[in-house]
């Protein structure tokens, strides 16, 4: 039992500290630097260690968190102290826990033990993801309510309405994905995407479910409450919305849960539509080039290449979300609701119907 616990702990540490949080840190850096590039200004170059600025890398990766952690944690009078304390934690935790079902490799063998490179190999992985993303709303709602501030309250109310609305479209997009793969298990889905079409085109889910990809991406950005969907925060009207009354480390936790959600959306999109840890042409035995040369590789190297490939895909989709965030203006509230209920929901429903017909016609799916 002790060894089992050690292995699971090792997987969690590897996944969260070495993969997810690294991408989160890169995301924060991109947020500063990409915004500067997009707005045609010199950005993120104010902090330096011994004169070394490093493209603003140091001030975003070191100075930013240190600044937040050293600030005074102001808890205003009149707040509900218990919920004010717990809200940032309730916001961050579900987003981190959701990574448990994201596979980051096939299996590796160490000392005669077969270790699956996934923290929790749940047979109902998709349901787990939906459950965790739906719990993320509590952090927003409770922060808004506990702050005893009308701007915060408005932000919390907006957040809950927005997240519930877009969860429906997200769930329906995932229904089509589940119909395509015929399984709820994320590892099975990734394994399904290992082949090549015509010998060169990777058989990734995006080829079968382009509409579901668009719906999931848009709904995912809405769930992460970032521009153009940042009405719960909406600094021009609500100061900072639901986290107006937060400072120091708690404010950092809200910021971080935003970025963890961005990486989570990247991970989900990668897993469902872009082959997860799959590298085209790479199988457990080694690498096969499109013209048929086979290069045998040891399994640990294969596992390492796959983890790096997954990391690069995560970075790509994180970057894409940041570019979207700095390109679009904020929606009006009625536009937000119209897009969710009259745009994405019917689109996702039609996609489910289409997929169901296709699966019946091909006779595919799990049967």
């Amino acid at each position: 039992v002790g060894l089992e616990i050690a292995i699971v702990t090792g997987k969690v540490v590897f996944l969260l500290l070495l993969l997810v949080l690294q991408v989160v840190a890169l995301g924060v850096f991109f947020e500063r630097k990409v915004s500067a590039v997009i707005q045609d200004r010199i950005g993120a170059n104010r902090a330096a260690i011994f004169g070394f600025v490093g493209f603003g890398l140091i001030n975003t990766l070191v100075a930013d968190p240190v600044k937040f952690l050293l600030k005074e944690d102001v808890v205003p009078d009149g707040v509900d102290r218990r919920l004010h304390f717990w809200a940032p934690i309730l916001g961050l935790m579900p987003a981190l826990v959701a990574f448990a079902v994201i596979p980051f490799g096939d299996v590796i063998e160490i000392g005669g033990r077969t270790i699956a490179l996934q923290v929790a190999g749940l047979d109902v992985g998709v349901l787990f993801v939906l459950a965790m993303t739906s719990l993320g709303v509590y952090g927003v709602v409770l922060a808004g309510w506990a702050s005893n501030n009308r701007w915060s309250l408005l932000g919390g109310i907006r957040g809950s309405a927005q997240m519930i609305s877009y969860e429906i479209a997200m769930g329906l997009a995932l229904v089509a994905v589940v119909l395509t793969y015929g399984t709820l298990d994320l590892q099975e889905m990734v394994k399904d995407q290992g082949g090549l079409i015509f010998g060169w085109l990777p058989a990734w889910g995006i080829l079968y479910q382009p509409i579901a990809f668009v719906v999931l991406m848009v709904a995912g950005i809405a769930e992460s409450k970032r521009i153009p969907f940042d009405l719960p925060e909406s600094e021009s009207e609500l100061i900072s919305g639901y986290f107006t009354e937060y400072s120091g480390a708690k404010h950092l936790m809200f910021m971080m849960s935003d970025f963890v959600e961005v990486v989570l959306i990247a991970a989900l999109v990668t897993t469902f539509f872009f082959g997860g840890w799959q590298v085209p042409g790479l199988d457990n035995g080694g690498f096969t080039t499109p013209w048929g040369t086979h290069l045998a590789l040891p399994s640990l190297v294969v596992a390492l290449v796959r983890v790096i490939a997954l990391g690069l895909k995560l970075v790509f989709f994180t970057l894409l979300q940041i570019i979207i965030r700095w390109t679009l203006p904020r929606f009006r509230y009625d536009q937000l609701m119209r897009l969710g209920w009259k745009g994405l929901l019917p689109l996702a429903l039609a996609n489910v119907m289409l997929t169901a017909c296709a699966v019946l016609w091909v006779g595919g799916g799990s049967q």
């Binding site: 939906l130 459950a131 739906s134 409770l142 808004g144 919390g156 109310i157 969860e167």
Partner: protein, 163 residues
């Protein structure tokens, strides 16, 4: 299920259920409800019913109670300064609760103890879906019609002017 784990979980479930009933603040009551429903989901998971367990979290904790909180916040309900319930109401409710608990205990005590062994893959998605769409198809579809009727009713009530 490990008996110690069961007792701890059961105690937590009852404690959060008591918060729902006893706490003055409506927000805390709603949170107690989330806790209770979440613990019931944990029991489902412990009984190998993964699908039902996660559906419990998605539907109840993730959607329904969030809507409760939404309404509580929208109406800006504050803590009740004094208890709304009269002594008679408390007495009737307590009596009813004790009677219900007694009946459930009696029923469980009389039920046959030997449970049949679970089939292979019990609680997995495929067998569950197969039962749902063959043996229980009619109740399943009737439930969805019931929900549809409720949605139509909500829309009708929500519309101020029917033209």
């Amino acid at each position: 299920v490990n008996p110690i784990l069961f007792l701890v979980l059961a105690a937590l479930t009852i404690a959060s259920a008591l918060v729902v009933v006893l706490h003055r603040s409506p927000v805390y009551s709603a949170l107690g409800l989330v806790g209770t429903l979440g613990m019931i989901a944990v029991f489902f998971l412990g009984l190998d019913a993964h699908v039902v367990g996660f559906l419990q979290i998605i539907v109840y904790a993730g959607a329904i109670v969030v809507l409760f909180l939404f309404v509580i916040m929208l109406l800006n309900l504050q803590e009740e300064p004094e208890a709304l319930a009269t002594t008679t109401m408390v007495a009737v409710a307590t009596g009813g609760g004790v009677a219900l608990a007694g009946m459930v205990t009696l029923g469980v005590a009389r039920a046959p103890l030997a449970t049949p062994a679970l089939a292979q893959g019990f609680g997995a998605t495929a067998p569950l879906a197969e039962r749902l769409f063959t043996a229980y198809l009619l109740p399943f579809e009737l439930t969805s019609i019931l929900l549809l009727v409720a949605i139509v009713g909500a829309v009708v009530i929500g519309k101020r002017h029917l033209s």
